[in-house]
Symmetry: C2
Subunit: 203 residues, 2 copies
């Protein structure tokens, strides 16, 4: 803090707001002044919603998705196929996949990807709990739905090896050209892979 | 809200965060997930600082700067020159001018500038209270320290006319070339004005 606004309360709020990712001192000041201009209820609602969220949300002990009370709503849904587990990086990806309406199974949230450069090793992720889940529960397929990046591929391979001794089918998301994209602008690696993995023409 | 994260608490926090200026739904989600990953204390500190700020900060009844208890620290400072009032747009400008250490008087925060396009008329600003202050208190000079924009100039002129019947000196900030800027890149209007308003060479 190299500035003081003659108010410890304002200084505090700016300090806390600027701890958020992507929010610097100037933006924090702008947000604080915005809250001071608006009705007090706006600031109270914001403050309370953040506190209540952090208080009320925990993680599902089964799939590590967020949950407000023990086992999450997906894991406790009997209409879903509990034999098919989709492995994702984080809870945002759970939502992304849910919106496709193409996965009727359950999830396993890793909490990140293996990335030695960022100091994230397999032990930092929920990989052991995934292996234990496959060992103990009746699981027929594990779908690795990680990003097609170096970190994602490393994690895919690590999990594949960890599961190789178990009688479970391990699959990854299909890679190929994006629907709606011009072929001209598709990168060569993806295009090459999509030729190798070509599928029978479906009328 | 076209997305739901299976948690009313998370949805709420995202909704409140995305009410902040410049923060959309995606950024709000990122901020919320950041708070969920960090220690609970981080979220509690943020929430409480915002609530406490809004609860504790009010406006100085004299100059309309922020204040934690009645008359602000500048207005209640006897070492300052209460005869010289510097008129600024908002509380950020109070800090900016304080940091120059060139103004030893007091302030009057308008709360904005006259801007018919944005629907801000003189009655929305603290102009009447400024006129009343000049009428009632012993004020020798009013320094108009508003931005050199169309809105600032409009407001300057409006205040100047409102004060014209009173025995008070009204001044505006000097306009000219910025210290440290190349002459080549100074705009013609500013350069022209700085020639007209040239000052005696000070050795």
């Amino acid at each position: 803090m190299n500035q003081s606004y003659n108010s410890v309360l304002l200084d505090n709020a700016i300090a806390e707001l600027s701890k958020l990712p992507g929010i610097g001192h100037k933006t924090a000041l702008r947000l604080a002044l915005h809250l001071l201009r608006k009705d007090p209820e706006v600031a109270y609602a914001l403050g309370n919603s953040v506190i209540e969220m952090r208080k009320g949300i925990s993680y599902c002990p089964v799939c590590h998705n967020i949950s407000e009370s023990g086992v999450c709503s997906i894991c406790s849904d009997n209409h879903r196929d509990h034999e098919v587990v989709c492995v994702v990086e984080n809870i945002k990806d759970v939502i992304t996949i849910e919106r496709t309406h193409e996965h009727s199974g359950v999830y396993h949230v890793l909490g990140g990807l293996i990335s030695p450069l960022d100091g994230i090793s397999p032990s930092d992720l929920e990989i052991d709990s995934l292996v234990k889940r496959v060992e103990q529960d009746k699981i027929s397929e594990v779908i690795l739905a990680l990003s097609p990046t170096m970190e994602g591929d490393t994690t895919n391979f690590y999990i594949y090896r960890k599961l190789s001794h178990l009688p479970v089918k391990v699959s990854v998301l299909a890679r190929g050209i994006s629907i709606g994209n011009e072929l001209e602008y598709t990168d060569e690696l993806t295009l090459g892979r999509s030729i190798l993995n070509r599928t029978p023409f479906a009328k």
